[in-house]
């Protein structure tokens, strides 16, 4: 234990007793392939590799944010760890129990501890059930008789999420999007779960309502000691709510780090590109000499993901090794795990490999934010050449080269 303790101290993780340091959820090599079947005999001709070998853990009481573009497998991951889907491989451990291949019956006792909040507040509530019966369903299914009766408990829950207890007999259509999302949260909290997986909990809501729900989830975490896994595509929201963040790309985690390290100095080029693409509500930025990395093209198909590093087809730093060898998710800085051969702001992992792939030169465009001026075609990479030079120089200099 002493070894792990010093390790933990060095990693500057939250100080806590060693026993509590055991993660609540541990995922190893998790894989989910959806088969593609064709023909009369429904032979399998391929697979959508939605989640393709990911490792992470969720610590007690923390909020893990998961970000990535659509199709990166983040929602599938959420459904796997709540075991709404059966993994094709790997291992999921919840609080020490292996739940990878538990059946419906085997999962039932665990459903109390793991709950989910869904994205669509319209699709996730049965329109023919009253709010009372929706929120009390978990009690019915689990055969739990809360203190003071189900009705009283449901009304308490409704109050907890900021609704009125009189809403008990109303139907979902009588509520607005934000209120429905609150109902979904009340239902998820009914059995006092330990972990809540929220898949895009606020993306269907208006900004002003979004803030209400974000604050509510925050308060509930403090009050009930919840552990959250929040899946979202909005990087500002994820930053606001998470303690640690996992960035996914094509079924893989490319970077997993503490919030502050991730946003202060992203190490994976994809993370960097993703964050630079977020529009910033500050018009002054337009005239400042900041840069934006504009990725070309779209995410490749998860049916036939690129070899080696999956990002190499769109990466401006890609070299031969990126095409052939998959980079491991390694802890390069304390608390910051990155899967990249040529990380940003850090010693190159493959310094011998300096020749850029030809695609790299076209992969991205560094746009000074005042794009203006040039009405030229977007097909021409303007400053990509500049960035492309970076790995040829001393690797540590790469960032200074770009921030000019």
């Amino acid at each position: 234990m002493s070894e792990t303790e010093t390790g933990a101290a060095a990693a500057a993780v939250k100080a806590a007793p060693a026993d509590d340091e055991k993660p609540l959820l541990k995922v190893e090599g998790l894989v989910k392939h959806f088969p593609i079947k064709k023909g009369l005999l429904q032979r399998q001709v391929g697979a959508v590799k939605a989640v393709d070998g990911i490792d992470f853990e969720v610590r007690r009481g923390e909020t893990l944010g998961v970000v990535g573009e659509s199709g990166c497998g983040k929602s599938t991951m959420g459904r796997l760890i709540t075991r709404l889907l059966e993994p094709s491989g790997g291992r999921i451990e919840f609080d020490g129990t292996d739940i990878t291949h538990l059946g419906v019956g085997g999962m039932r006792p665990l459903r109390r501890d793991v709950q989910m909040i869904f994205q669509d507040p319209y699709g996730s509530l049965n329109p023919r059930h009253t709010i009372g019966s929706i929120v009390s369903a978990p009690f019915r299914l689990q055969g739990v008789e809360p203190e003071g009766g189900v009705k009283k408990e449901v009304q308490r829950l409704l109050e907890l999420v900021g609704l009125s207890p009189e809403h008990f007999n109303r139907y979902p259509h009588e509520f607005s999007g934000g209120q429905r999302q609150r109902i979904g949260i009340a239902r998820a909290l009914a059995l006092k779960p330990r972990m809540v997986v929220a898949d895009e909990p606020v993306s269907a809501l208006d900004v002003s309502i979004q803030a209400q729900v974000v604050n509510l989830m925050d308060d509930l975490q403090d009050e009930l000691g919840l552990t959250y896994v929040i899946i979202a595509h909005d990087l500002s929201v994820v930053r606001h709510v998470s303690d640690r963040i996992a960035v996914m790309y094509l079924g893989k985690i490319v970077e997993l780090a503490d919030r502050d390290s991730l946003y202060a100095s992203p190490m994976h080029p994809y993370t960097k590109a993703l964050m630079s693409a977020v529009p910033i509500p500050d018009p002054k930025r337009r005239t400042q000499k900041s840069e934006r990395i504009l990725l070309r093209g779209d995410v490749p198909s998860p049916i036939a993901p690129p070899s080696g590093c999956r990002f190499h087809t769109r990466c401006w730093k890609a070299t031969e090794v990126c095409r052939t060898t998959e980079p491991p998710l390694a802890e390069l800085r304390p608390g910051q795990r990155v899967a990249c051969h040529h990380p940003e702001d850090f010693a190159d992992q493959q310094p011998q490999d300096t020749v850029l792939l030809s695609v790299a030169k076209e992969a991205a465009e560094l746009v000074p934010d005042e794009v203006s001026g040039k009405p030229g075609k977007p097909g021409k990479p303007a400053a990509a050449g500049k960035a492309a030079k970076a790995p040829e120089e001393t690797p540590a200099k790469s960032s200074t080269d770009e921030s000019q």
């Binding site: 590109a273 977020v278 509500p281 500050d282 930025r285 779209d298 075609k377």
Partner: protein, 364 residues
Amino acid sequence: MTDLSKTGAAVGEPVRAGEPPRAFLEVRDLKVHFPTDDGLVKSVDGLSFQLEKGRTLGIVGESGSGKSVTSLAVMGLHRLGSRGKNVQMSGEIWLDGKELVSASPDEVRRMRGRQMAMIFQDPLSAMHPYYTVGNQIVEAYRVHNKVDKKTARRRAVELLDRVGIPEPNKRVDMYPHEFSGGMRQRAMIAMALVNNPELLIADEPTTALDVTVQAQILDLIRDLQKEFGSAVVIITHDLGVVAEIADDILVMYGGRCVERGPVDKIFYEPSHPYTWGLLGSMPRIDRAQTDRLIPVKGQPPSLINVPTGCAFNPRCPYADVPKGGITRTERPELHEVGGGHFTACHLSQEDRTRIWTEEIAPKL
């Protein structure tokens, strides 16, 4: 941002009805009401703005604030189909010297696509799944131009190339479902631009897209505007998007404009409590601050029973600051607070400045 005096003119001085327009696009006291079984839905209830060519107006607001209805009204799309009988429109929309509300559907149809074009939020449902992308662009071109199919097809390929679709020669014969979301949005932009429209309305053009693709599309729209010098209206709920792309901003609430002005004013000296609320409820990636967000309490208003007085009064933390409950009885009119910056709020100038500098600004 170079010419502030021009901005002022572009955003609007009050103009009397019937007078000829001063701006390229001028909307005056536009009202769009839909009678329903539950009552009259006042989606847009007295909206005015002006827009010059070469400038971008961002319309911001929550769902149900009337921003999309406004854009459909400008495009003359409310009279189509069975719903057309059920809409009550009044006011004036002047585009390049022509009045559109009173124009015949035929006249509007001739202008639609040619002088004004629209980019919709969801490219998959906005494009016809049964025709190739090329065919749809060709159709849009040939409706307004007497050219043979070959020329039109060349034009389609040229535009697909211009909006950054790789291998346009091949892509032109593909169907919308074979395109990715970002590509579809590019194809739709190509379709909208095929006739070099002078007014381009983009209704949530990037909401369905990922951030990396959103950045590409915003960049494209900005480039194209520079190239064609058209007037652009961007409708969005994302303040980040308007901060990047708009010259002027119009904030809508409950079917009315509550604040409008140059982008810098709206972000650095916002004057309406609703705008303060929007800015406070937004998590920001560029600030270290990660404490609680400051949400706007309550729900957006019903457009059937819009609150009397200021529509925002039930949610406004400062509704009781002006004396005599005026916020609940009297509807505030837009008035200038300086430099082309208009606001519709009963707060006095002193109160507003005090609240902004002492209470709101430090928390943002």
